[in-house]
């Protein structure tokens, strides 16, 4: 080994080291700029690095399935939980949107009738044999609903609560002949009575009867509740006038009304549980002219009329006897 350190080979290696040291100093002084040997070597090295990267990608892609199986499994489980959570949030989001729309409807209703108390309800059943659009809602007495309560949507009047249980209620709509709602046409202030008929219900229409023969109501007029009976708040939109004709009696006129609400298509409604000026539901349905008609009242009138007729016959017989 001693002769190596005295040989030319050792001196050549020392010279090479000195050159390398010089190259390093030069490279450091240029602030990292590549020297010529470095550039030449990098040109030769880059293709090999690209080739190795391709090999590496193929290698890792193939074996990552096995090496990362556990991580992939855990990530998969976590993602499933995240998806379930997102689905739950999506349902909540949809519910929030629906509730938002319904609250907007409430707001619109309350703008015109700030005193009304509303209970929202969902329609849970429609009788297929009913041709007047009657339906059942999912709220009842425990939610503050009682018979005769008006039922509305943000678009307008739907009907009234005809019977109620603890957690459900049946609604009779304005297409039914059994309903009677005091109404008024906004432009001409013409008053009348909203009630349904079978032939109009087929077309989704209702009618406004007992209109004065000289009424100036026109087609397209807006019809709202009059609010004088105490069973419906005032200014609840009922619909628009579709056509006007003379009634069968020839004394009054009848208007066909296009309801503002799509009676057969609605899914949610609001029940007006209270409003300023509300009458008790124990009395009969009152028309806007103050007269009343109900089964009970008609029986009472019948009894009273029979009683009065008996009284009159007794008095006449007594008169006769006196005579």
């Amino acid at each position: 080994m001693r002769e190596f350190f005295n040989s030319l080979r050792f001196k050549l290696l020392m010279a090479a080291l000195a050159v390398i040291a010089g190259i390093m100093l030069y490279s450091a002084s240029t602030g990292g700029l590549a020297t010529l040997p470095e550039k030449m070597l990098s040109y030769a090295l880059v293709p090999f690095q690209k080739l190795s990267a391709v090999i590496s990608d193929g290698f890792t892609d193939f074996f990552s399935v096995f090496f990362e199986a556990r991580e992939n499994y855990e990530e998969n489980q976590q993602l499933k939980e995240d998806i379930a959570e997102l689905r739950r949030q999506l349902v909540e989001y949809d519910n929030a949107i629906t509730e938002n729309e319904r609250l907007k409807e409430i707001l619109e209703l309350k703008e015109f009738n700030p005193d009304i108390q509303l209970q929202d309800a969902g329609i849970i059943g429609r009788d297929p044999s009913d041709q007047f659009g009657a339906f059942t809602i999912d709220k009842g007495t425990i939610h503050g609903i009682s018979v005769w309560d008006p039922v509305v949507t943000g678009d307008g009047l739907v009907g009234y609560v005809s019977s109620v249980g603890p957690t459900y209620a049946k609604i009779t709509t304005i297409l039914s002949p059994t309903i009677n709602v005091g109404a008024m046409e906004k432009a001409t202030k013409t008053t009348g009575n909203i009630t349904g008929s079978i032939d109009l219900a087929e077309k989704g229409l209702t009618q406004m009867e007992l209109l004065p023969r000289d009424t100036e109501m026109k087609e397209g007029g807006l019809v709202v509740t009059a609010g004088t009976s105490g069973y419906y708040p005032s200014d609840i939109v009922i619909g628009t006038v579709k056509s006007i004709r003379l009634s069968d009696s020839g004394i009054t006129k009848v208007a066909e009304i296009q309801p503002a609400v799509d009676i057969t298509g609605i899914k949610h409604v609001f029940v007006i549980t209270d409003f300023l000026g509300k009458q008790s539901g124990e009395d009969s349905v009152r028309w806007e002219d103050g007269s009343s008609q109900s089964e009970e009242s008609s029986e009472e009138r019948k009894e009273s009329s029979e009683t009065s007729s008996e009284d009159s016959s007794d008095s006449s017989s007594s008169d006769t006897s006196e005579e």
Partner: protein, 173 residues
């Protein structure tokens, strides 16, 4: 037809250089051979393996080339690793020629030593001198890289030995 000695030598060294470029590409491939973030430096076993079978000037130049390639792929100052790898390869060749046998144990010790020296060289001049935070953690990672690099020595050694046996009349043993 027998090849001339110069032709054999040229082909042999051509293969050595190609293999060196290929291994340098492999060591810098993203994610390849990585175990918990530790990757081997494949040019060191290659340079040390060649140092066991060739003469000192040739292995010195070959070690210098290996170090240069490592400098380029690692983004270090050009010549930083070249200098130390060159010196180590010359020392290994001299030891092989005059002191030690060519066997697997000596080869593993040589690779471990060269790898450790290169790692300490980098640790001192690129980390300790600048007083970086977490420099202790880097030291342990450097040690892990050293041992992982040494694990690659046997296959590379036998490959170089095979190439040498193909193109040289005799193999140092």
């Amino acid at each position: 037809m027998e090849m001339r000695k110069s032709t054999r030598t040229t082909i042999k060294w051509g293969l050595y250089v190609l293999l060196l470029f290929f291994l340098c590409g492999l060591q810098s491939a993203p994610g390849l051979f990585s175990i918990w973030g530790v990757k081997p430096v494949l040019v060191i076993p290659m340079a040390v393996a060649v140092a066991f079978f060739e003469r000192e000037v040739a292995t010195g130049i070959y070690g210098l080339l290996a170090g240069f390639l490592w400098d380029i792929s690692a983004g270090k100052l050009f010549g930083f690793y070249g200098m130390v790898v060159m010196v180590c390869c010359v020392v290994v060749t001299l030891l092989t020629m005059y002191c030690i046998r060519v066997n697997l144990i000596n080869i593993l010790i040589a690779c471990l030593t060269v790898s450790l020296l290169c790692g300490l060289w980098d640790y001192v001049f690129y980390n300790l001198l600048w007083n970086y935070e977490g420099v202790g953690l880097y030291f342990w990672k450097m040690l892990a890289r050293t041992f992982y690099t040494t694990l690659w020595m046997p296959p590379i050694y036998y490959l170089v030995r095979w190439i040498t046996g193909l193109f040289s009349p005799s193999v140092r043993a």
